[in-house]
C-alpha cells in the first residue's frame, strides 16, 4: 500500500555563512519522509541541527541545497498547512487565550468558527482559562494554549520544536499524554523535535536519530509498541536501549 506523504526532505544541506569565519555546515544531505498520521521524532544532541530541520520544514528558513516537499507542493515559505508549536510558546501577549486561538482559526477563511475554537480550547483543557492573558498562565498552560491555536488553524502537519523542553517533569508527562490523546483522536501528522531519549521512545512511532557537526542522519528506529503505552515498561525501555545503542555507534 502506498502511503500518502505529508513531508519529504530530499538531500537537504544547510550551510550558514559567518562574517570573517569559515562557513559552518549545519545539515548534510538530510533525507526522510513523514507519512500521513505518523508521529515522528527528531532526536539528537544540541548542534545536530534538529531545530534547523524543523524551521526549514516550516518554511522559516531556506535550505542551502536540496528540496522540501509538503503534501504535493514545494516548500518556499511558511504556510498554514504546516503548523508550528514553539518551545517558547509564542503566544501573543496582548491577546487572551481565546483570542490567540481565534487568530489561528481566522487565518485562512476570514470567518471564525466559534464552535471550532471552543472545541480546541476544550480538547486542550484551556476552556476554563480562555479569558486569561498569557502572563497569567503557567508554562504548561501556555503550551496547551499554543497547541490549541495550532490545531485550530487545521494544519496538515504539526511541527513541534522541543515543545515541552522548558516544563517541569510532571507537567511534561501530563502534556505528553494530552498530546498523544489529541494525536490519536485527530490522526494528525506530527514531527516532534526533542533531545530526550525517554520522550522520543514514549511518543514516537519512529525516531530519526541525528548526529552533530555536521547534522547528519544516523539511524531510524521504529517504535511499534501499541497504544496505550506504559512509561518505563519493558518494551519502551527496549526502544530506549536501541536508541542509545544506535547513538554510540
Amino acid at each position: 500500500m502506498q502511503k500518502t506523504l505529508k513531508l519529504r526532505f530530499d538531500r537537504v544541506d544547510m550551510v550558514f555563512a559567518r562574517p570573517n569565519q569559515p562557513p559552518v555546515q549545519v545539515l548534510k544531505s538530510i533525507s526522510f519522509e513523514v507519512g500521513a498520521g505518523e508521529f515522528l521524532c527528531l532526536l539528537g544532541p544540541s548542534g545536530c541541527g534538529k531545530s534547523t530541520i524543523l524551521n526549514i520544514a516550516a518554511g522559516l528558513i531556506r535550505p542551502s541545497a536540496g528540496t522540501v516537499t509538503a503534501g504535493s507542493h514545494l516548500v518556499t515559505g511558511p504556510g498554514r498547512d504546516r503548523g508550528v508549536v514553539f518551545q517558547e510558546y509564542a503566544l501573543f501577549p496582548w491577546l487572551t487565550v481565546r483570542e490567540n486561538v481565534v487568530l489561528g482559526a481566522k487565518s485562512g477563511a476570514g470567518k471564525v468558527d466559534r464552535a471550532r475554537v471552543d472545541h480546541f480550547l476544550k480538547v486542550t483543557g484551556m476552556y476554563d482559562h480562555r479569558d486569561k492573558y498569557p502572563k497569567e498562565l503557567s508554562g504548561g498552560m501556555k503550551q496547551r494554549a499554543a497547541i490549541a491555536r495550532t490545531l485550530a488553524n487545521d494544519p496538515e502537519i504539526i511541527l513541534m520544536d522541543e515543545p515541552f523542553g522548558a516544563l517541569d517533569p510532571y507537567t511534561r508527562e501530563a502534556l505528553q499524554d494530552q498530546l498523544i490523546e489529541i494525536w490519536r483522536a485527530s490522526r494528525k501528522t506530527i514531527l516532534f523535535v526533542t533531545h530526550s531519549v525517554e520522550e522520543a521512545a514514549y511518543l514516537a512511532g519512529a525516531v530519526i536519530l541525528l548526529k552533530a557537526h555536521p547534522g547528519e542522519l544516523k539511524a531510524v528506529i521504529k517504535n511499534e509498541v501499541s497504544w496505550p503505552r506504559e512509561r518505563a515498561s519493558e518494551e519502551l525501555i527496549g526502544i530506549e536501549r536501541a536508541i542509545r545503542r544506535a547513538e554510540r555507534t
Binding site: A58, A90, F92, W94, L95, P134
Partner: protein
C-alpha cells in the same frame, strides 16, 4: 560541622532582631510614607523660600523684585486666573502642543515601522533622518517662520519636528525588537501583508508607541515656549516674554511654573492610562 551551625545561627539572628523604631520609615514596603516625605520636602522648600523673603524684607540682602516670594507668585497666579488670562494662555499652548504632536504621529509611526521592518525604507529614509537628527529644533525655528509664516502653522510644524524624532525613534527601536518567535508564529499561522502589521506589529509596539507619545508631548512642552517667544500673541511663552518686557517677574514665575505643572500632569495622566490599557505586559510588576 558545629562551626557551620554557629555561623548559620548568627546569620539568622540578624533577621530576628526586632526592628528598631525609626523616626522615618524608608523601607520599600512603605510606599505611601515615601510619597508623603517627598511632599514634605516640597513644602519645606517653599516655607524656607518664604522665610528667606521675610528676612530679606528686613535686611535688604537682594532686590526682592528679582525673586518674588512664593506668596507673591501665588497671589499673582490667582489674579491671572480670575481675570481669565492664564486660562487663555494655557489653552493656546496646550492646543499647539497637542496638534503639533498629532501632526508628528502618522509620519513617525509609518517611518519608524518602515525603517525597522523594510530594508528598502531603511535605505531610502534612514540616512536623511540621521542627517537631520542632531540639529537642535531651535536651530530650524527661524527657517520654519520664513517658510510657514508667523502664524500658527510654523509653531505646529516646529513642535511636530521636535516630537517626530522622539516618537519615530521609540517606534523604530520597538518594531525592530519584536520577539522573533512571535513573528515566526504569525508567519506560520498564515498572517501576512496588511494583517501582519495590524494584528501583530501594531499591538506589539503599542506600549512603546504610547511611551513615545508621552515623551513627544514632553518635548512639545519643552520647545513650545521658544516658538511663542518669537512670534505669538497668546500662549504661556508669550506671557513670559511679555512679562519680561514689563519687568513683571511674578508673571514670569507663574508662566514657567504653569508649564512645568502641565507637563508633569500630562505625563502622570498618560502613565496612569498606560498602566491601565497595557496590563497584558509581562514585566508589569509595579
Amino acid at each position: 560541622m558545629k562551626g557551620q551551625y554557629v555561623v548559620l545561627s548568627e546569620l539568622n539572628a540578624e533577621f530576628l532582631v526586632p526592628e528598631r523604631k525609626r523616626l522615618m520609615d524608608f523601607s520599600l514596603k512603605n510606599h505611601n510614607a515615601m510619597r508623603l516625605y517627598k511632599v514634605c520636602t516640597l513644602i519645606l522648600f517653599i516655607a524656607a523660600w518664604q522665610t528667606v523673603d521675610l528676612i530679606n524684607s528686613e535686611l535688604k540682602l537682594y532686590n526682592p523684585l528679582l525673586i518674588p516670594s512664593p506668596f507673591d507668585i501665588a497671589k499673582k497666579a490667582s489674579a491671572l486666573w480670575s481675570s481669565g488670562a492664564l486660562q487663555k494662555h494655557i489653552v493656546a499652548s496646550v492646543t499647539r502642543v497637542i496638534l503639533g504632536v498629532l501632526m508628528a504621529f502618522p509620519p513617525a509611526i509609518v517611518l519608524g515601522i518602515g525603517i525597522a521592518r523594510s530594508r528598502l525604507v531603511e535605505v531610502v529614509f534612514e540616512p536623511l533622518i540621521e542627517l537631520i537628527r542632531p540639529i537642535p529644533p531651535l536651530a530650524v525655528l527661524p527657517m520654519f517662520i520664513l517658510w510657514f509664516g508667523i502664524g500658527e502653522l510654523s509653531k505646529l510644524v516646529f513642535i511636530a519636528f521636535a516630537a517626530f524624532y522622539i516618537i519615530m525613534t521609540t517606534v523604530m527601536l520597538s518594531a525592530a525588537n519584536i520577539d522573533v518567535v512571535l513573528i515566526r508564529a504569525a508567519r506560520t499561522l498564515g498572517i501576512n501583508g496588511w494583517r501582519f502589521y495590524s494584528t501583530i506589529v501594531f499591538p506589539a509596539i503599542s506600549p512603546d508607541l504610547f511611551v513615545g507619545v508621552r515623551l513627544g508631548l514632553s518635548a512639545g512642552f519643552v520647545v513650545i515656549v521658544a516658538s511663542e517667544f518669537i512670534a505669538a500673541d497668546v500662549g504661556l511663552g508669550y506671557m513670559i516674554n511679555y512679562a519680561r518686557a514689563y519687568f513683571r517677574v511674578s508673571d514670569m514665575f507663574v508662566g514657567a511654573l504653569t508649564i512645568g505643572f502641565i507637563g508633569y500632569s500630562v505625563n502622570m495622566l498618560l502613565m496612569l492610562v498606560e498602566r491601565r490599557i497595557f496590563n497584558w505586559r509581562i514585566n508589569d510588576e509595579r
